[in-house]
Symmetry: C2
Subunit: 228 residues, 2 copies
């Protein structure tokens, strides 16, 4: 059993959107010394830390968090790694060819699977600047899924959702969110900022994706665990 | 597979503590119409909705959320019901005798089990006043665990944690939090505001308890699912 969830804290990196997003905040409302009980209040956006994006994040009228069927959140896990390529090129993306090569080695992606992309990016969360990886022109530079990979997964396989260890399923330099839009139009979910994918087998594991269940939410922090 | 999680919203009832607790709050930071993307920001306390209490909630220096071993969060589930008694007496508690009677019918509580108490209270969440159930003297009136039941579970069985469908594992009229304190001193977790326990078998299911993983948190909203 491996925890694929980062520990969320005020230091955890987040997708910077001027005037919209902010770091996770926590402040005490009671302490053992003063009140005999310890508790905090939080302020956060729906897409901070290891989290799930619901289809309604980009697709008008599509499913919000609470409507995602439980049966699509506890599913076989396929882990595809492009970490070796990422080491020399942060702009690289998962191509349809990568998926076909993976299937040659591991068999067809199982029905209902979650397909998680391991880029090796999760080790950068300890250094927020390196995780967001903004270049001189203020463009983020990190790997992601390509349109072609999503077309393959939606058109030729029967998946429940996808995941990645970076801030976004679209590559960092993308401004159109093409992968998000195509995936959400098809009613599938995505998880972002996944941890520890290097510790999970390419095939044979199950993943349990457990987002907080909030009415009408476009996304939510999630606990994600692989078992095999 | 049954979702034991309530959908959290601003209308969801919460434990009222003057100047400390407040309802769950959500407000939009972006809309599809205005921004091409939909997302919200949240304000909440750690103990709102279906949530987990970590031992550090009452025990100084005890485990916070992120330190709870994953192996104690995916465990056999024992569901004990006192719903029939609650129907005529909201102040009733689970006694050690109830646990012994349960074991006569279903066998010994399995090692590492989570013991969830079904009181039937979850159906009241749609009417916040009835869920908190404050009497004329401002004392909350709802069922809970007794000290004796906790002594039995900690001393004579080997459990991972406990759960209940009310706001607190201690009965509503309690002011000392004796059950919380004894359980947390022993390093066990508790979940509160659990839903749908009437739909889970008394024995034979597994439960997956998935709290949001926040550094140093005394508790956190959790997704809780039973599978069998």
């Amino acid at each position: 059993m491996v925890d694929l969830t980062h520990t969320l804290s005020p230091e955890f990196p987040f997708l910077p959107v001027e005037g919209k997003t902010f770091p996770f905040r926590s402040s005490p409302i009671a302490t053992i010394k003063g009140d005999g009980v310890y508790a905090n209040r939080w302020e956060l956006t729906e897409h901070v830390g290891t989290h799930l994006d619901a289809p309604c994040h980009f697709a008008e009228g599509a499913m919000a968090i609470e409507a995602i069927p439980l049966e699509t959140l506890f599913v076989p896990l396929a882990v595809v790694s492009i970490a070796e390529r990422v080491a020399t090129n942060p702009d690289t993306t998962l191509g349809a060819g990568d998926l076909m090569r993976w299937e040659k080695d591991h068999g067809e992606i199982p029905a209902r699977a979650a397909v998680f992309l391991h880029t090796g990016w999760d080790v950068r969360t300890k250094e927020p600047g390196a995780f967001v990886n903004m270049d001189g022109a203020k463009t983020m530079r990190f790997p992601g899924f390509s349109d072609k990979a999503i077309e393959f997964l939606l058109g030729r396989r029967s998946i429940s959702g996808i995941g990645i260890d970076t801030l976004s399923i679209d590559p960092g330099r993308d401004k159109e969110y093409a992968v998000h839009k195509e995936l959400f139009r098809a009613g599938k979910w995505a998880v972002e900022c996944v941890a520890n994918l290097s510790r999970v087998p390419a095939t044979g594991a199950f993943v349990f994706v457990a987002p907080v269940k909030v009415a009408g939410a476009s996304g939510a922090p999630a606990r994600i665990v692989a078992v095999w």
